[in-house]
C-alpha cells in the first residue's frame, strides 16, 4: 500500500471582490499517494489552478477565505503559519508553473536560482549546492550543464527553461510535485519530451504528482487517476481507464467528445460544449452543469452528492443523477462518447 502523501478534505477557497464573493473552489476532496500521477482536468474558471496553489498557501491574501483541510502527513496546511508553510514549500511540496519565461527571475543566473532554493532549506555551502544544481540540470537533459548554469533565463529556449524549472522543483526531492499546465506554453514537439521527463523523474524520486491540465491527450499519456473539475467542484473522479472508457458525467462526455481524433474522419465543424462557464459569484442552486447539459431533468434542481454510483468500481465517483444504465445509452452520440447538439432558444 503506497504511502498517503496528501489528503484534501472539503477544500473551499473564496475571494472577496468588488462584485461579490467569488467561490473559486467549493468543496473539493481527494488524496494523493506516493508514486501516482493524478491529473486535474477542467476549463478556465473551473478552479483547478486555485486548488493546487492553495495546497502551498500561495493564494493567501487579504481578501481570500478558506475552508476545509489539507493534510500533509499530520499537518493541516490550511491553518499553518507562514513560517511553517515556508519550510514546506519547495521542500516537501514543489511546483512547476505554466510559463517558464515569466516564472524564472530574469535577473538571476539559472544555477543561482536553483542554489537559492536548495540553500533556503538545507545548511550547505554555495559550492556544494551549485554542484547539486549542475547534477540536476544534467539529469533533466540540459547539455553542457556546467556552463549553462551561469546563463540567464532569457538565453534558453522554452523547453530548456521548463527543464530548469523541473530541476529546481526536484532539487530537494519533494514528496509532492505539482505541475500547473507545464506544457501549455511550449511547442507540441517539446511537450512530449517534457512529459516524459516529469513522469520519469517523479518515478525515480518516488514523488506523487498532481498534474493540472486542460488537455485530455496529456492526461491519457501520463495520468494514473483523473479528477474532473467544473465550476469549482469535482464532477468526476476515477482511474484513467475508467474516465476514458466509462465516463459517468455529462461534462466529461463533452470534454471527450470535443477531442478531435486523428484516426477518424474529421468533422465538418469542430464540436464544442455549448454555453458559457457559470459565474462563480452566487452559484446557482442545483447541479452547476445544468444550464449546459442536454440531459438535465427535474431532479437536477438539487445538487447531486459527489460519490460512488457503480458498485463494481468504488473508486469511481461522480456528481450526476442519471442512472448508470441510462448514462451508457445517452453518452453514445453517433458511435462515440460525447454530448448531442442542442437547440438554442433566445
Amino acid at each position: 500500500m503506497a504511502e498517503r502523501l496528501l489528503e484534501v478534505e472539503d477544500l473551499e477557497v473564496s475571494f472577496a471582490t468588488e462584485d461579490g464573493l467569488v467561490r473559486a473552489v467549493d468543496g473539493v476532496t481527494f488524496t494523493l499517494d506516493r508514486g501516482e500521477v493524478v491529473a486535474i482536468v477542467g476549463e478556465s474558471g473551473s478552479g483547478k489552478s486555485v486548488t493546487v496553489m492553495t495546497l502551498m498557501g500561495l493564494t493567501r491574501s487579504p481578501n481570500s477565505r478558506f475552508g476545509g483541510a489539507v493534510w500533509l502527513g499530520d499537518e493541516d496546511l490550511i491553518g499553518a503559519t507562514e513560517q511553517e508553510l515556508e519550510s514546506v514549500r519547495g521542500n516537501r511540496i514543489a511546483m512547476i508553473f505554466q510559463d517558464p519565461i515569466s516564472s524564472l527571475s530574469p535577473v538571476q543566473r539559472v544555477g543561482a536560482q536553483i542554489v537559492e532554493q536548495i540553500r533556503a532549506h538545507e545548511e550547505i555551502s554555495k559550492a556544494a549546492a551549485l554542484e547539486r544544481a549542475i547534477n540536476l540540470m544534467e539529469r533533466v537533459g540540459i547539455p553542457r550543464a556546467r556552463d549553462r548554469a551561469r546563463a540567464y533565463p532569457h538565453e534558453f529556449s522554452g523547453g530548456m527553461r521548463q527543464r530548469v524549472m523541473i530541476a529546481m522543483a526536484l532539487s530537494l526531492s519533494p514528496g509532492v510535485l505539482i505541475a500547473d499546465e507545464p506544457t501549455t506554453a511550449l511547442d507540441v514537439t517539446i511537450q512530449a519530451q517534457i512529459l516524459r521527463e516529469i513522469k520519469q523523474l517523479s518515478a525515480e524520486s518516488d514523488s506523487g504528482v498532481l498534474f493540472v491540465t486542460h488537455d485530455l491527450g496529456v492526461v491519457a499519456d501520463i495520468a494514473d487517476r483523473v479528477l474532473v473539475m467544473y465550476a469549482g467542484q469535482l464532477v468526476e473522479q476515477g482511474t484513467v481507464d475508467e474516465i476514458f472508457h466509462d465516463p459517468q458525467h455529462p461534462y466529461t462526455w463533452g470534454l471527450l467528445g470535443s477531442v478531435t481524433r486523428v484516426d477518424r474522419e474529421p468533422p465538418r465543424r469542430l464540436p464544442a460544449i455549448g454555453g458559457q462557464p457559470p459565474s462563480l459569484i452566487n452559484p446557482l442552486p442545483g447541479c452547476r452543469f445544468r444550464p449546459r447539459c442536454p440531459h438535465a431533468f427535474d431532479r437536477c434542481q438539487d445538487l447531486p452528492a459527489f460519490g460512488p454510483r457503480l458498485p463494481e468500481d468504488p473508486g469511481h465517483l461522480d456528481r450526476c443523477w442519471l442512472e448508470p444504465s441510462d448514462k451508457r445509452v445517452v453518452r453514445d452520440v453517433g458511435g462515440r462518447i460525447g454530448l448531442p447538439a442542442r437547440t438554442v432558444i433566445t
Binding site: 514543489a94 511546483m95 508553473f97 516564472s103 524564472l104 530574469p106 532554493q117 533556503a120 529546481m168
Partner: protein, 317 residues
C-alpha cells in the same frame, strides 16, 4: 565598456555644444533685448551704451561673439554683466554650498522613499498606514517648494526659533552650525521628492508582487523577507535609478534655485536665478553647460548601474 565610454563621451561633447548654441541663440532672438543697455544702466547716455557695446563686443557678428564667449568660458575668464565677477570662479565657490544642500537631502529622500514606499505597498501596519503614507505623499507633491520653505521658516525659525533664520555656514568653519542651518532646507527639498518617489516605488512594488517569478520565489519556500528584498524590491528599484540620476544631476546643476533663494544659501542655483532675472547671459550660459555636464555624467552612470543589475540590458552608446 570602452566603446560605451567613448560613445557617451562623444555624445556628451555634442550635447554641450548644442546646449551652448541654443542658449546663445535664445538671447539673440529676444526682441528688444539690448545687453549693452542693461549693463550700462537705465540712465546711461547713448555714448556710454555704445562704449559698453564695443567693450563687450556686442557690435561684432553673432558667431564671433559666440566663439569669443566660449573661449572666455573655457579659459575661465568670462565675466558676468551684472557685477563683473568671474563667472567660473563664482561657480567654483558656490558649488560647495549646493553640494552641501543636495547630497544629504538626496540620500535622505531616497532612503525615506524606499522605506515609505515599501511599508505602504506591503501594508505593514494595515491599509490605514498605507493610506496615511500615500496621503502624505500626495500632499508632498502638491505643495510648491517656496511655499513649504516659507512655512517652515515661519514656524520653526521665526515662531519657535528652533532653527536659524536663513544663511549658510561652511562645514569647515563649524560643522554643527553648518548642519543646523541646512536642516530646514534639506527638509524642504526632500519632502517633494519623497512624495514623488515613494508613490512611484509603491506602484512598481505592487506590480512586481503579482509577477510570476515572485510567485515562483515564494513557491520555492524562500523566507518572505528574502523574496521581498532580493526579488521584488530589487526589480522595482531599477526604473527609479534612472529617474534619480537625472534629478540628482539637475539639482547639482542648480535646479534647487528656489530653495537656495528662499533660504539665502549662496549656491549655484541662487547665482543662476539672479542671472536669469537680470538676463545676464554669461552665468546663464555657464550654468546651462554645467547642468548639461552633470546630466550626461549621471545618465551614463545610471545606465551602467542598470546594466549591472539587469543582465538583459546590454550597454549601448
Amino acid at each position: 565598456m570602452l566603446r560605451f565610454v567613448v560613445r557617451r563621451g562623444i555624445s556628451a561633447i555634442l550635447l554641450l555644444f548644442a546646449v551652448s548654441i541654443v542658449v546663445f541663440a535664445i538671447f539673440e532672438v529676444i526682441p528688444n533685448y539690448n545687453p549693452a543697455q542693461a549693463i550700462a544702466g537705465r540712465n546711461a547716455t547713448p555714448t556710454t551704451v555704445a562704449e559698453v557695446s564695443r567693450k563687450f563686443g556686442f557690435d561684432k557678428p553673432v558667431y564671433v561673439q559666440y566663439l569669443d564667449t566660449m573661449k572666455l568660458i573655457f579659459t575661465g575668464q568670462v565675466i558676468d554683466y551684472q557685477d563683473n565677477l568671474n563667472v567660473v570662479g563664482q561657480f567654483q565657490q558656490r558649488f560647495g554650498v549646493t553640494v552641501s544642500l543636495v547630497v544629504p537631502a538626496a540620500i535622505f529622500w531616497l532612503l525615506a522613499a524606499i522605506a515609505l514606499g515599501s511599508v505602504s505597498a506591503l501594508r505593514i501596519g494595515g491599509t490605514l498606514v498605507d493610506r496615511g503614507v500615500m496621503a502624505a505623499a500626495i500632499l508632498g507633491v502638491s505643495v510648491p517648494v517656496f511655499l513649504l520653505a516659507a512655512v517652515l521658516l515661519y514656524l520653526f525659525a521665526f515662531k519657535l526659533a528652533w532653527f536659524p533664520n536663513t544663511g549658510y555656514t561652511p562645514f569647515l568653519q563649524d560643522p554643527t552650525q553648518w548642519a543646523y542651518h541646512l536642516i530646514l532646507p534639506w527638509f524642504a527639498i526632500a519632502v517633494l521628492s519623497v512624495g514623488f518617489y515613494s508613490r512611484v516605488l509603491r506602484s512598481n512594488l505592487l506590480d512586481m508582487v503579482n509577477q510570476d517569478f515572485v510567485r515562483t520565489a515564494k513557491a520555492k519556500g524562500l523566507p518572505a523577507r528574502q523574496v521581498f528584498v532580493k526579488h521584488v524590491l530589487r526589480n522595482s528599484l531599477l526604473p527609479i535609478i534612472t529617474m534619480f540620476g537625472l534629478d540628482f544631476a539637475t539639482l547639482l546643476g542648480g535646479a534647487a534655485l528656489v530653495t537656495e533663494t528662499v533660504f539665502n544659501l549662496p549656491g549655484v542655483g541662487q547665482y543662476e536665478a539672479a542671472a536669469i532675472g537680470n538676463l545676464d547671459v554669461p552665468p546663464i550660459l555657464v550654468g546651462a553647460l554645467f547642468t548639461a555636464f552633470f546630466v550626461v555624467l549621471f545618465s551614463a552612470l545610471s545606465d551602467i548601474v542598470y546594466a549591472v543589475l539587469d543582465p538583459r540590458i546590454r550597454l549601448t552608446g
